[in-house]
């Protein structure tokens, strides 16, 4: 744990930034939190709306077990207190995207209490300091519908497809002090949610978005007045919004002004935040327990199942990769950051069995496979090469069939043709040779052509050894086993 040294340099001195995030994460479920309508993204307007979601008179909410289960599992994944007794409350306000005139949420008794998320501040540095960000609570609530303002000159259009979709609101403590810390926290949280499977983390589809609370103060002094920038939907934008908002606040204060506690919007095109007037008057939400619902009481069997179904989480996995597999801290971090990468890597290890060292598999994935995917603009989930195909290639390297250089060639052909490594090696004769007779013959030829250099070497110019290796490998078309070449050359050169 280290104190952040991030400061805004104002005209009158340094300012510290205090940041808390309220992350809204859409719970992965087939049906909505309180109705049986579907949650899929991108449907025709108002087709995924039940009469309950449209708040028709007399319609009543019935809670979806899976949404509760996913929130509980998420809580467990951040070592949080799970409240076996919780309640749903109504948050009352009027808006066209809120059919009931209230959002069913949890204020007084949330499902999940105190937990924490530990972030590594610099992933590339194996000795990077970590910081533990407190999570105050996670509660479950309904999402609102969507308004579209650009379809008609005088009207806004209302689409209720999202109305009633389950969200987890994950409320952090104001424990972050720099855009980088907030970015690291959000990335880590996203990673955990995706491991748990409780949220797909698709920020561009709005599955995860953050309300960013920012205030500034002189280092060590009392907390300043905060603003809340709503619905920021990428890690980069969150960092940009904080940066802008902190600087704006410092400028206001240094100008003799005061920060108003208000709701703001981030404009990603301009990189600025601006005040949001439309929700200004909505601050008296008149929360009270939803009388349509009873208290939510969870039994041990439910909690046991939630716990038992949790996967190995990124921190534990990373430690295991370092400890048991002997991977470098950097490689372990890269391979565990995204659940898909870790899954792919573990599938690769399973295919390799004991034939390939884990370290080699990790190096290949991170340098060769990642390099190729970056070039192709693809994610690992869409990799044109499967873990089984990768393992086939790595096995050929491990058993000496392919040299490092050859393996790269074979991999390129795999990417182009979709063929397996064995077939490529067979077809194109790319097999590395350890045939000492053939290599010795080539060496003799090389020495004969370069008799002068042989004499120089023997006269003490040791550096020329590499020259002979290169010439031999070249003459063998790169297919000679480098180890064997070395041994035989040493013998032949005396």
């Amino acid at each position: 744990m280290t104190e952040s040294t991030y400061r805004i340099r104002g005209a009158t001195g340094d300012w510290e930034v205090v940041i808390g995030l309220e992350v809204h994460a859409q719970v992965t479920s087939n049906a909505k939190l309180f109705s049986g309508a579907a949650t899929a993204f991108g449907a025709e307007p108002n087709t995924q709306v039940s009469l309950v979601d449209a708040a028709m008179p007399g319609m009543l909410p019935t809670p979806n077990r899976e949404c509760i289960r996913q929130a509980v599992r998420t809580g467990m994944a951040i070592d949080a207190v799970i409240n076996k007794w919780s309640r749903f409350d109504r948050k009352n306000y009027f808006y066209a995207d809120l059919p009931q005139g209230y959002q069913i949420s949890q204020l007084y008794h949330p499902l999940v209490g105190e937990g924490s998320v530990t972030v590594v501040l610099d992933e590339k540095d194996p000795n990077s300091p970590t910081k533990t960000i407190g999570v105050e609570r996670i509660h479950v609530e309904q999402d609102a519908g969507k308004l579209m303002h650009d379809q008609h000159p005088t009207r806004s259009y209302v689409d209720l497809n999202r109305s009633g979709v389950a969200l987890m609101e994950i409320v952090s403590r104001p424990d972050m002090n720099s855009p980088a810390e907030a970015g690291a926290y959000l990335s880590k949280l996203r990673s955990i949610l995706r491991y748990v499977g409780s949220c797909d983390g698709n920020m561009d589809q709005g599955s995860m978005r953050a309300d960013v609370n920012v205030s500034v103060r002189r280092p060590g002094e009392e907390l300043g007045t905060r603003t809340e920038t709503k619905n920021v939907n990428s890690v980069r934008f969150v960092m940009a919004a904080i940066e802008y908002e902190a600087n704006r606040q410092v400028a206001v204060i240094e100008d003799g002004g005061r920060i108003v506690q208000e709701t703001r919007l981030f404009d990603p095109d301009k990189g600025v935040t601006r005040s949001m007037r439309s929700k200004e008057d909505a601050h008296d939400y008149r929360y009270f327990p939803d009388p349509d619902l009873l208290p939510l009481e969870l039994d041990d069997a439910f909690l046991d199942e939630c716990r038992a179904s949790l996967p190995e989480l990124p921190d534990a996995k990373r430690q295991r990769y370092e400890g048991e597999l002997g991977l470098s801290a950097y490689n372990a971090a890269v391979l565990t950051a995204e659940v898909e990468t870790a899954r792919w890597f573990e599938a690769l290890l399973a295919e390799c069995g004991s034939d390939v060292p884990a370290k080699s598999a990790a190096n290949w994935l991170i340098s060769d496979l990642y390099g190729a995917l970056n070039r192709l603009g693809k994610g690992i989930a869409d990799s044109p090469v499967s873990p089984a195909q990768g393992a086939e290639l790595l096995r050929l390297v491990a058993d000496g069939t392919l040299s490092g250089t050859l393996s790269k060639q074979v991999f390129e052909i795999m990417l182009e043709t979709g063929q397996g490594a064995n077939a490529i090696v067979e077809e194109r004769g790319l097999k590395q040779t350890s045939d000492t007779g053939a290599i010795e013959a080539v060496i003799a030829e090389v020495m004969e052509k370069n008799a002068d250099k042989v004499a120089d070497y023997r006269g003490g110019k040791d550096k020329l050894f590499g020259f002979f290796v290169g010439q031999t490998m070249k003459a063998m078309g790169g297919k000679a086993n480098p180890g064997v070449v070395n041994d035989l050359l040493k013998k032949a050169l005396g």
């Binding site: 307007p45 108002n46 899976e66």
Partner: protein
């Protein structure tokens, strides 16, 4: 208990009920009377008493995560005062 017309207007605003000054003047003493009458509850010693949560012992049932509803746009929109292209419409909102 006395309730100011300004308070009546603030509450009417929260409840989204348009109200004229004259109506607020008229409602103020009425609400004052009612609120004064219900304030006698303050006399009751409720220390250590839990607020009622479920009037008859019952537990919250949880539904299976199955899509059983939706895809009823015509029924959803059937009573809309105004709508087009499958949307409800409202006066343009400036955010």
């Amino acid at each position: 208990m006395s309730v100011e017309p300004a308070t009546v207007k603030r509450v009417a605003g929260l409840a989204r009920i348009a109200i004229t000054d004259a109506e607020a003047e008229k409602l103020a003493p009425e609400l004052g009377n009612i609120l004064g009458w219900i304030e006698q509850l303050g006399e009751v010693d409720t220390q250590g008493v839990e607020p009622m949560t479920a009037v008859i012992p019952n537990h919250l049932r949880l539904r299976d995560d199955v899509v059983t509803d939706g895809d009823v746009r015509d029924r959803v929109l059937a009573n809309a005062p105004q709508g087009e292209h499958g949307f409800f419409t409202v006066p343009k909102v400036i955010e």
